[in-house]
Structures are given as C-alpha cells and as structure tokens.
C-alpha cells in the first residue's frame, strides 16, 4: 500500500558498491553516556581508571535506559561534559587507547538464542546497550517489551533506508544477510510473534534477494519491495505500506500490533546474545561531494569526527556542511571533536554550494508542502502561525504529529525553514500543554479543598 505525500530526492547512493571497511584503532575515543532516548545511565568509571574493551562505562538507571561500553582498552582521561552530536556538550567518558584492544573478562558467555527465554534475551539486549540504529536510538529492549494489553502480532524489519546518500543498512543487508535474518528470528522469539515483514525500497533489490536467500527455515518472514519514496522508512509509513495498518495520531506502532526494528539493530541483538558482545561499533556511511574518499565504515562508537574524516582522506576545502545522518533529517555539526555514536548512520559532507540556504521568503501558498506532507498536515499554514509566534494555535494543526521528515521544506520554493519552525513550535506547544495541565491540576486541587472546607 502506498502512503500519500512524500518526496523523491536525488538519491546519491554512490557508496552502495563499497564494501564495509573496518576503521583502524584510534588514539582516543569520547563515549557520551547519553546515546539513547531515555534516562542516561550512571557512570561507573572515574579519571585514571583502566578499562578493557566492551567493559561497561555506565549502568542503566531504570527501564528506559541502557549502558554504554568501552570501545577499546585504555585509560579514562576524563569524565566531563564534552561535545555531543546533538549540539550541546554532554557527560562523556574520554578514553586514551593503550593499543592493546584487550577484551573485558566479564563478558557474558556466548549463548544460543533459540534456547533462551524472551526475558533472558531482553536482559541480554539491554545489558549490551542495544538501541535502534535507524537514528532514533530508542532502547531496543523497551521496544521488544510491549505491555500485556497491546497484542503484538507483527514484527517489521526496516531495510528501507530512504534517506539519500546513506548506504550503511544496504551494505549490512548484503554482507551480513545471515546475521540480519538470525537477529530477526531472535527478536521474533522475544516478542513471541510468528509473522515478520521485511520492507526494502525498490532501489535495493539485491539486498532483498540476499536476505531472502539467507533466511533460516525457522524464521517466517515475508519480503516486500517498497516504492522508492522518502520517507518510506518512517515507522508509521512503513507499517502502513507493509500491513495497511495506520498508527493513530499520538500512538505507537504497538497500538496497531506492530514493532519495527532496523536491520542494524537485528545484527546488534544477535551479537549481544550469540557472542555476548555489547554494542560498541556500528556501520556508518561517510560520503558527500566534500569528502575525498567516501567509505562505508565499521566504526567504533566514540570515534571523534575529525579522525573519521581524516581516515576518509579529509574534506575538500569547499566543505560547507558536515551532517550526522542523512540530508533530510540529519543534524548539522560544527565541532570536529564530536564523536560518532550509536545512532550515527552516516557522516555527510556537503560542499558550500550544495548546502541549502534557507531564505525564509514569504509563503506563496503553492501547496507543494501540503502535497508532500506524509502526515496529512498543512505545513504552509503552520509555518505562518509559527512565524508570528502564535504557538498556542499550533495544537489545532496537529503539530505533534509532525515527524520532522523535512519533505515540506525540501519542496518549498520560498526556501522557508519549516522544520525549524516546527521543532520550535513543538517545544512551545508542549510547554503550553504542560502549563494547561498544571492549571487544571491546580483548579482541581482548589475545588477539592473548597469541597472539604
């Protein structure tokens, strides 16, 4: 089934043919404690400590929290607020590598996922610090623990990789097809579902073929080649495209009985159980016109951006933007010291003349954004409202349903920074809701005291 809206950006999947190459060991790594959505863990190490590879640097606090692990062995140089891909400095552990890459003795023993209970698997996945690798970085074990009242019957494996430029998932599907499918089977076991759908955009038929061939007999998966259209990889739209189910506004995939997992996440889950190895590396695409030698890199989490760029031959002098993630939803970077983290699916280096400059011209009401919005919103009107700072009206326009996919700004002929409007608008609207809730609570409390008095 096809969803309405969406756009067809130039795909630039030039790195699709490049084998994944392991990044050499670096002198230093900066491992942020917060690499996932949810509560950051509690730091376990202090300055001067010796750590081994895969040793936990933090422990989860609460359920929606995962630990981070040392990418290599060495000495903790500092635990401090250091540059973070999200923009503001955040607590991180800086490790000076000793070059030995000595593994940690406390690793969990390898195990066969087919013999473990779902609860044990979930524990292993959380302990390994596995998060969604599509970019949202939601802790995987939480997604694999639907509450009892939500009956999940379908696991969807997201191999759409609809962001232009990025080919990391594509390469993982080609080179680690067997592990992807094993990981899928593992996650199906955790969820207790018998049905799985694999969705891949039609520009990657080879990936679909590889996965189909690698599918073990005991994993019941359906394979679908999806229309190549952005944002095909968005959870809600992928679910609709594969099953026809529509996640209600404000709802979660599990509200329609689905769980969506990225292909990279499947491999990470498998490695966590089969090999007992925590998540300390990922595949990231380093590409763009401003990078000298594009790569699909297997890079350890915490590798500083500058070293990654240097490994790829450095950037050209006319570099204008360095983006973590894809060009549609990625985050622009300005500090060369930020580390690549679990959610970094790629590093995109755009030339100065390629970088879109928002001009914020007047909206000419052409309606292109309305046609492009995959969520059925009216970005033109919302942008105007936000531009006049009338945030209290944005709720009527379903601002919270905006998935910030960028389709509207991509087509806007006036180059209006619509996504920035909506990010701000969402934050302001949440504040307003919070205030209203507090006020109703106050009123209720007063009514109560008045009643008792």
């Amino acid at each position: 089934m096809k969803f309405s809206g969406g756009v067809h950006p130039a795909y630039h999947k030039d790195t699709a043919g490049l084998q994944i190459e392991a990044m050499p060991l670096l002198h230093r790594y900066v491992v942020p404690i917060a690499q996932h959505l949810g509560a950051p863990g509690k730091v376990l190490v202090a300055k001067g400590d010796r750590v081994a590879r895969w040793q936990p640097l933090s422990e989860p606090v609460g359920f929606v929290s995962v630990p981070v692990h040392a990418p290599t062995s060495g000495t903790v140089k500092q635990v401090a607020a250091l540059p973070h891909p999200l923009g503001r400095p955040m607590l991180a552990v800086e490790i000076e590598s000793d070059g030995e890459d000595r593994p940690w003795e406390g690793l969990a023993p390898p195990a066969d996922w087919r013999r473990l209970e779902p609860a044990e698997l979930r524990r292993a996945i959380q302990a390994a610090g596995v998060v969604g690798m599509g970019g949202a970085t939601f802790p995987t074990h939480v997604k694999l623990s639907p509450p009892a009242e939500k009956k999940v019957d379908l696991l969807i494996l997201n191999g759409a990789e609809c962001e232009p430029y990025l080919t990391a998932d594509h390469r993982v599907m080609l080179e680690q097809a067997a592990e992807v499918m094993e990981g899928l089977g593992l996650m199906m076991r955790v969820l207790g579902v018998t049905r799985a759908c694999v969705g891949i955009e039609s520009n990657k038929p080879d990936a679909l073929e590889a996965l189909r061939r690698a599918c073990p007999a005991d994993v019941a998966a359906e394979f679908t080649l999806l229309e190549t259209k952005y944002p095909q990889g968005s959870e809600k739209h992928l679910i609709y495209a594969l099953s026809g189910r529509r996640v209600p506004p404000g709802g979660l995939p599990m509200d329609v009985g689905c769980v969506v997992q990225n292909v990279g996440t499947a491999v990470a889950c498998l490695e966590a159980v089969r090999d007992g190895l925590p998540m300390t590396e990922r595949v990231a695409t380093v590409t763009g016109a401003a990078i000298n030698v594009p790569h699909n890199l297997r890079v350890r989490v915490g590798a500083p951006l500058l070293d990654v760029l240097a490994h790829c031959g450095g950037v050209t002098p006319d570099v204008g933007k360095v983006i973590f993630g894809g060009p549609m939803m990625g985050i622009g970077q300005f500090d060369m010291d930020v580390p690549l983290i679990k959610g970094t699916s790629g590093v995109l280096c755009l030339r100065d003349d390629e970088a879109v400059l928002f001009e914020g011209g007047p909206c000419i009401r052409c309606g292109a954004c309305v046609d492009a919005c995959p969520m059925g919103l009216v970005p033109s009107a919302m942008g105007l409202i936000a531009e006049r700072f009338r945030f209290e009206e944005l709720g009527d326009w379903h601002i919270l349903d905006c998935i910030e996919c960028g389709s509207c700004a991509y087509v806007c002929p006036s180059r209006r920074p619509l996504v920035q409007h909506f990010k701000r608008g969402k934050a302001e609207w949440r504040d307003i809701l919070e205030e209203r809730r507090a006020k109703t609570d106050r009123d209720a409390k007063r009514a109560e005291t008045a009643a008792t008095a």
Partner: protein
Amino acid sequence: MLVPTVVLSGIGLLAGLGLALAARAFAVETDPRQDRITEALPGANCGGCGFAGCGDFAGAVVRGDAKPDGCPVCDQETRRLVASIVGQTVQDRAPQVALILCQGGDDVAAKKYRYNGLASCASAALLGGGDKACSAGCLGLGDCQRVCAFGAVEMTPSGVARIIPARCTACGLCVAACPKDLIKLVPVEATIHVLCSNHDRGPAAKKACTVACLGCKKCEKSFTGDPRIRVADFLAYIDYEHAPDDPALAALCPTGSLVYRGDAAPAAERTT
C-alpha cells in the same frame, strides 16, 4: 399629544416588561470587583503577570488565583488599590529594572558556526545553543525585544540586546523569553553590574569573548571583610541586597565585564 405619549410609553413598558422577564430567565452572577480591578490596572495587556491581559488577571485576583500584587508593571499605589478591592494588603517592594547580563556583540564575541535559519533566539538555540562560541552569549536575534510591550529593549549595532531603563517596567516578559537566561531583574538603585553569564574557566571564556568575566576574583578581593561581589563557578555575582556603589570597582575588572552605570557614568549608560 396624548396619543403619541401613550403609544410610545406603551411600547416602552411592554419592552421593559419583556426584558425584566428575560433578565430573570437569563440571570448571570458577575463579581463587580473584577471590573473595578480591571479599571485600576494599567490596561496595557502586556501579559507580564502570566495571564491573558488585565481583565483576565483581575478575574484571577477575584477568584484567588493570583496575588493582588501580581501585576509587575503598575506602581505601588495601584497594587495597594487592587489589594484593597479584594480586602488584602500588600508588601512594598523595591522598584526593579531588567538587565541583560551579556555584552558580547559581534565585535568582541567569537562565533562557532555560520547560522542559517530563523531570526529568533529560541529557534537558533535549538541548534547547538546558537552560533556564539560562548555558551552563555546573547544570540542577538531579538526575542526579548519582540516580547517587550513597552519598547524597552533595543539591539545594539554589534548585535546584542540592551534594556532602555527609562522605559522598562520590570514586567519580566523578556526574562522568560531569553533562551539563554541572560536577563535578570535588579534593583533600580544598583549601579555596579557584572554583564556576563559565562561559567567557563578563564582561558576558555576569554577565547570565546573578550569582555567575558574570567572569574579572576580581582573584584571580590578588593573588599575587606564581607565581599559584596562574589565569584562562584568562574563568574562574579553582585550581592544586590547590599549593592556596592563605587565607580572605582569597575576599573579593577581586566575585561570590562564589571561595569558602573550610576550617576557618574556617561548619560547613555546610566540605569538610575
């Protein structure tokens, strides 16, 4: 003469009777105190009290949702009047003025990237805290100026906000609007201010901005006994309860982040 009089008064009587009945059917209780409070208030509907305009605030006072001295704009007399309408008394409080604790314009403060986007501080702050290399620098996009109902904020040519004390009513809207928390309400009489909010260590602060407070403690050490300026976390703070009033203090500061704005200062810089 009789007929027209009878006809007119007849119509009038009938209408009056109908209205009287209607008034009974649609009777609504209103609190006359709300109108009196609304009349007493300045009527600028600036929203500084946190309610939607003066009328809304008056209603909140009558219902007990707001304190009678909750209007930050009006003078002491009005506050007393409002309080007396609802049968309360209010404490006097010292007149205040807003102050922007940053003077890092483009001429003195470094930038960490080329910003491209909306001309609003709060929107820019979403992108790594804004383009100023100083993590506590004024972004210069004028959110405070936009919310001020009294035209009391101006942007200097170098791109940093400045309060025009004569117009400031200390309503506090700009304080809430600044995403970098750079605006504070200070007593009008205070003359010495630290116009910096950067908590970085000296070298880092200096690299980001030449007028940053380095936390060198020269000002703090100039006091014998109980200092009225204290440095905490590499930033100097004025003790506004016992505000110092000595033009010579400002000369101690190596970067110029400690300023004197009293009577002895040039007219354009005075706050009192």
